[in-house]
């Protein structure tokens, strides 16, 4: 139900992002989706990768602060209002969305990755609707 997301702390400094990607490349890990959020001093790089556990280990070994976080992947139909309707379900239950980014899984559908305050509850609510959750196996090909 959940997808393991790899989160990495990076300083706002030239070359740091490149170094993270270099470590992943050397470990033969493919990036399926990512989001980079930043403040003036540092950023958080959130990645969905083919081998999250190995990615985390490789980054730690190379001196990065990295961890795995559970997130939800939701498949959406390409139609006006689909995302709004979905979020309405979550927001009505007073669940807070911490962050969200797009995930590309195919040509016909769109997908998003979300992290919410109560992930378990959000997942249960979504499963009652007609949306489809992206399975971890689809990412970790």
């Amino acid at each position: 139900m959940y997808i393991k997301q790899l989160s990495v702390f990076i300083e706002n400094r030239e070359g740091r992002l490149q170094e993270v990607l270099d470590v992943l490349k050397k470990s033969d890990i493919n990036i399926v989706s990512l989001s980079l959020a930043d403040t003036s001093d540092y950023g958080l790089l959130r990645l969905l990768v083919t081998k999250p556990e190995e990615g985390k280990a490789a980054l730690l070994e190379n001196g990065f602060s990295a961890m795995l976080t559970d997130v939800l992947g939701i498949r959406l139909r390409h139609r006006v209002g689909q995302l709004q309707e979905l979020l309405e379900v979550i927001c009505k239950s007073h669940i807070n969305i911490e962050y969200m980014y797009a995930l590309s899984t195919g040509t016909d559908d769109a997908s998003i990755v979300i992290k919410t305050s109560d992930l378990e509850k959000a997942a249960a609510l979504l499963q009652e609707t007609d949306v489809e959750l992206v399975k971890a196996e689809e990412i970790q090909a």
């Binding site: 958080l44 990065f64 961890m67 992290k115």
Partner: protein, 433 residues
């Protein structure tokens, strides 16, 4: 274990030795060291005026500047041919200060360090690894001869190549480590990265650390990494006075015992130069009373401490000096507030989300001092909220301790510089305006 009977003499006995030796030293310096004789003449004091230990305060001070002015051998009290060793300080702030030893000086040095090492728990059974840089620096050779004299098996591994250092520790069964506190932490990090837990997989049970301040927080960090049962003692000395071996902590960790039959300590007000009453805090001034090569009289150490004359639980009767807050040299003046880097270190070591390494960067913008403190983030996190909370926690604690605000910069683990010798953690980029 108490190494020498001189460490347990009564106050009267110690003072009798001190007076005799002081008188001999003053006469020797008067005769052999023209720059100091000139100072004495200017102060209107002659060797025969030193009738009691109280008369010590009549004598002029020697400062680091005097050593530079008389570079290299101007303050030596023997002919060059009597010297058997020459060392020099690192000279980070100008010309190095040069020190020379006669054969008797080296014997005295070895005796002093043997006492300090024994205080810190060293015995002939130890395998002692010296992770100080061998060379002109007095630290490595000083500890080396003292520990060898005790009968320990010496491993002179010096600094650098930390992975090999860990391999020696493991394969040779090293039980005693000599290093700066910051290098000891670095070595533990390296060991862990090799899959070796220093607390469990190594047999190092004694740490003789020096050349840098050992704060309580740093000692706690040492225990965390090297094991709770490690006896970590700090020792004190400086090349001008001899090197390590002036004083050291015993197992009770309640101040450093001074080798008083060789050194007379005084505490002065650093501004006026007046001697302060026993127990008050001020600048430590040391007089060497048994040295031949470079017998400095009333050398201003710039270290701030207090003297304790009550006998220690360990049985030694020698005067103790409290562990240092910092050197007056190291003190930073930030927005008019006096700050010792050790105060910042205490705060940083007390916060578990960040590592023990740090850098302090001072700049001045619009006539206002700015302090940035770089620390390494140990706790992995996925939210900015948590990162901000960590920054705020450090900031608040610093504000309580220093009364100052600092900018906190979080860095990835293992990105700040590591030091093998004395750590240089402060970068003062302020321009005088």
């Amino acid at each position: 274990m108490i190494w020498s009977k001189e460490e347990t003499l009564s106050r009267e006995e110690i003072e009798a030795i001190q007076l005799t030796r002081l008188q001999q030293t003053v006469r020797q310096v008067w005769e052999k060291v023209p720059p100091y004789r000139k100072k004495m003449e200017e102060a209107g004091v002659k060797p025969e005026n030193i009738k009691s230990l109280k008369d010590l305060s009549k004598l002029p001070f020697v400062t680091k500047q005097d050593m530079r002015d008389n570079y290299p051998f101007g303050l030596f009290a023997v002919e060059k041919e009597e010297l058997v060793r020459i060392h020099a300080s690192s000279g980070t702030t100008g010309k190095p200060t040069v020190v020379g030893y006669t054969r008797r000086d080296l014997q005295m040095w070895t005796e002093c360090v043997s006492r300090i090492a024994a205080m810190g728990g060293a015995t002939k059974k130890d395998v002692a690894q010296i992770c100080f840089g061998y060379g002109m620096f007095t630290g490595a050779l000083g500890l080396h001869y003292g520990l060898e004299n005790i009968g320990a098996a010496m491993v002179p591994s010096s600094t650098g190549n930390s992975e090999k250092q860990i391999m020696y520790m493991k394969d040779f069964g090293t039980t005693l480590l000599v290093a700066t506190p910051s290098y000891a932490l670095r070595l533990a990090e390296v060991a862990l990265s090799m899959g070796i837990d220093p607390a469990k997989d190594l047999q190092v049970k004694i740490g003789l650390v020096g050349s840098e301040l050992l704060t309580d927080a740093m000692r706690a960090e040492m225990h965390k990494l090297w094991g709770e049962d490690m006896l970590v003692t700090s020792n004190y000395g400086m090349s001008e006075l001899m090197g390590p071996g002036v004083s050291g902590e015993c197992q009770y960790l309640d101040g450093m015992h001074i080798n008083e039959d060789y050194f007379i300590p005084e505490i002065i007000d650093p501004k006026t130069g007046e001697v302060l009453p026993a127990g008050e805090k001020g600048e430590l001034v040391i007089t060497c009373i048994y040295k031949e090569g470079l017998p400095l009289i009333r050398y201003r150490t710039k270290d701030v401490t207090r003297l304790i004359y009550e006998p220690c639980k360990c049985g030694r009767t020698t005067c103790r000096m409290e562990n240092l807050d910092g050197r007056t040299d190291d003190m930073l003046k930030i927005r008019g507030v006096n700050v010792f880097p050790s105060q910042i270190e205490e705060v940083i070591l007390g916060i578990e989300e960040i590592g023990p390494h740090y850098e302090i960067i001072l700049t001045r913008e619009n006539h206002t001092d700015r302090m940035e403190i770089r620390v390494e983030l140990l706790k992995a996190t996925d939210t900015f909220k948590e990162l901000e909370a960590i920054e705020k926690k450090i900031k608040n604690k610093l504000r309580i301790v220093l009364g100052l605000d600092a900018k906190i910069s979080l860095e990835s683990p293992n990105t700040l510089q590591r030091f093998e010798g004395k750590a240089k953690r402060v970068q003062d980029l302020r321009k005088e305006i």
